[in-house]
Symmetry: C2
Subunit: 477 residues, 2 copies
């Protein structure tokens, strides 16, 4: 079992250096690799397959709720980009620009989209004329470029993959409902696919998106006590509509500006899955998002009966839609065990000649590292329930972590101590003045204003002024 | 029926101006729109949905044949791009480059990928070490940028969407088999999904891809007699492997360079579907690739029984996986008829109160513009066969067009006359000298060297030298 030891030892332990554990795992589980340009990563098959499963889930949900996919250009003329003032201020420093081609300098610089509000805005201005044209519920799957200084695989990149929804509506209520409806889809993506209990809520003025009236967010809590903003939805009101002149004739023949939203999640979610569930042995993939749900490992696989049983089982599982891999390479079983444990494959089935004589196999579940003997004939039929149990176990563990690391603070010293410890700390503050002071003192930021609002204290522990709202703070990625 | 007339009249007739008919249709069928930057188009929902159906078909085929999806960066450092000489010469003039960001000039220019051979090559050099790592069969779905001077929607753009497969193999035979295997998948995509009879074959030296040893192609014949190269597969030999140092240890512990392929189809296929099948009334969408397969149009839709029957039918069809739209807006039936005819929806079902009393509906098929009465209860069960028949009819029509516009030439005057007439002209030529002369004299190019080789004449009609191979020529997009 020399190989096993070696492989596992090569991942830094989480307690020793959480950041290094994360990077080790990204590389060694073959989720990604670095490219020649800093901040631009290569999504390797095992990493990209996670994204494909996320896309599949969301695309279906978006379509069931009436959304349509489009594709907007990669580039935005600089002059067009500058049309919405708040928006351009938020993004201008991070933009990458095409200025020349192989034959000629361009007369106007072209910005590689950091997000596509202005492209959708320009298009909507052309195609929306009447209330009959509304709502328009568009989404696109693409990559965007933001020239970030500090980059980390999946969490923050100069280029990342995402979906960006952009919708226009005849009235405010419908647009606001859209931002909350999508937020709920994102929350369910966490609950049903990623096994991540996202905390949801509204962003403070300071933390909201450039140009938005409201920003809502899903936040995940990492094992190191830091929060990870994992997706956002924005209500723009009529700001973009006025800047881009998106008007429609209402049922009374009056010209009105549309009400607009945008929303997105990105490959950052892959980073969330890695961090929330992984352990010192490697990844733990929740079964519904796992690229490989079951790996079959033959023991003494050169024997005919083992070989046949392995192939038959693989074909049977594949036939019922399980994502299954049979590893019949000539590597040792020990090497394979640690390899697929590191890759977080939820279920391993060991097929050995002796067990097979008894009609049995050994089934190993990655999340609890438990082994048990089961009848070969039962494997296929037991998997749906097993996946469900694994998913629930993993979700519950993550939920327990959130619950045991969420605090309320009634005085500022306690608040600071808790923030230092890690986790979410709820505090009732007077407003932006308190938010700024908290960031200066602790580097924690306002994560969300929860929908369910109760004041913890009547006075803000930071400023001593009357408290106006309860906000969850945390240090964040 | 005033609206109908107006709408249909707004598309230029094909005989009057084929190019204008094409552009009219792209815009009026809402497949695309122009953006603010020339050559960068907006894929609107109806156009993007065609691409989604193509992606769905191909992605499944690729995965069934062992391919995995990855995502490589958008950008290539200029120095890296220049590693493979033939390749860089082919693409350098068309490249767009990022030179600056919102805060700083870059120290090295970054090329927006025009294709990703060099990115895959660099990555493969890192991850391929042993024969056990081979083959690697990667594909990616993305957009690429090529600074074309003349652009047309879907056919030639500065940015387009595509898939690019890049594979590395231990030996030449397997790599060559890969290029032919993918070519066959592309051919079947035409036969089974797009209803386009692609002609397949090898490209001449002059026409092959920059850096390739062999290029294979699928070609479609347009109604104007011009060919459209619709997809290519390339065998690179070990050229890229040597430039990028992609080596592996073989079973005898010898270091070898891999054998490499690449292959791709793009949103140009949407252009092929439009041109091959469309008529003066608009698009004709083959049912399996059609974004909407059936449109239900209620007549006097305000009546309760009509409304109920329409919704019930829609839900029933949707339940069996048919892509169906119910248009219950307050536009006139006549307007709707012409709108969905223009959009090429294969089947229209008219639900009127009188027909319903008899338990009947009117079913209209777009490709032959035939109407018939059918029992409402039979609609759902008849659709699978109906789609099949429509698909076959459309395919046969396109095949007849290819057959009646494919000629053999035994002398050069006849060759020139036939090329002028339009279509494929097969001729047995001596080699590149003849190919160059043909292009100068007629602007026709070698489309393919068919796999099935028989010499038509012993002497090349162009040069008078001994003929060496039979080549299909045509003018091309």
């Amino acid at each position: 079992m020399n190989n096993t030891q070696k492989r596992v030892e090569s991942i830094t332990a989480r307690d020793v250096d959480f950041a290094q554990w994360y990077t080790d795992l990204c590389l060694k589980a073959e989720l990604m690799d670095y490219s020649e340009v800093k901040g631009f990563i290569i999504y390797r098959p095992y990493g990209y397959a996670i994204w494909e499963n996320i896309m599949f889930y969301l695309d279906r949900e978006f379509k069931l709720t009436g959304h349509e996919n489009v594709y907007m250009p990669l580039v935005i003329p600089e002059s067009l980009f500058q049309k919405e003032k708040d928006h351009v201020e938020g993004f201008a420093p991070e933009t990458a620009m095409i200025t020349t081609t192989g034959i000629e300098e361009l007369t106007e610089r072209l910005i590689i989209r950091p997000t596509s509000e202005v492209l959708f805005g320009t298009h909507y201005a052309k195609v929306v004329n009447s209330y009959r044209d509304l709502p328009k519920l568009y989404n696109q799957w693409c990559s965007v470029v933001r020239w970030e200084k500090t980059t980390r695989p999946f969490l923050r990149g100069k280029e990342f993959l995402w979906q960006e929804g952009h919708t226009v509506h005849a009235d405010e209520a419908e647009a606001r409902a859209e931002t909350l409806g999508i937020l709920e889809i994102y929350r369910r993506l966490g609950e049903e696919l990623l096994a991540i209990p996202f905390v949801t809520g509204r962003k403070t003025e300071r933390e909201k998106f450039a140009g938005a009236i409201e920003t809502y967010s899903i936040e995940a809590l990492m094992p190191d006590g830091q929060a990870l903003q994992s997706g956002t939805t924005h209500y723009f009101g009529q700001g973009f509509a006025k800047a881009f002149d998106i008007k429609f004739q209402d049922e009374n023949n009056q010209l009105q500006h549309v009400h607009q939203t945008s929303w997105g999640v990105s490959t950052r979610l892959i980073g969330a899955v890695i961090m929330v569930h992984g352990d010192d042995e490697g990844l733990i993939m929740p079964p519904y998002v796992a690229p490989v749900q079951v790996v079959i490992i033959p023991i003494q696989g050169q024997r005919d009966n083992v070989k046949k049983a392995a192939v038959d089982l693989r074909d049977k599982l594949r036939g019922q839609g399980v994502r299954v891999t049979l590893d019949d390479t000539n590597k040792t079983p020990g090497w394979k065990f640690s390899e697929y444990e590191m890759k977080g494959v939820p279920v391993r089935i060991e097929l050995g000649p002796r067990d097979l004589e008894k009609g049995e196999v050994v089934l190993f579940t990655r999340h609890d590292r438990m082994k048990r003997s089961v009848a070969l004939d039962d494997v296929a039929s037991m998997l749906p329930d097993l996946f469900k149990t694994i998913h629930q176990d993993i979700y519950q563990k993550a939920l327990d972590h959130v619950r045991s690391n969420t605090y309320e603070a009634t005085d500022y010293d306690t608040f600071k101590a808790l923030i230092k410890k890690g986790g979410y700390v709820a505090v009732s503050i007077s407003g932006e003045e308190a938010e700024i002071k908290i960031k200066e003192d602790t580097s924690a930021t306002a994560r969300v204003i929860p929908f369910d609002q109760t004041l913890i204290t009547k006075t803000c522990p930071v400023t001593g002024k009357p408290a106006t709202q309860t906000v969850w703070f945390a240090r964040a990625y």
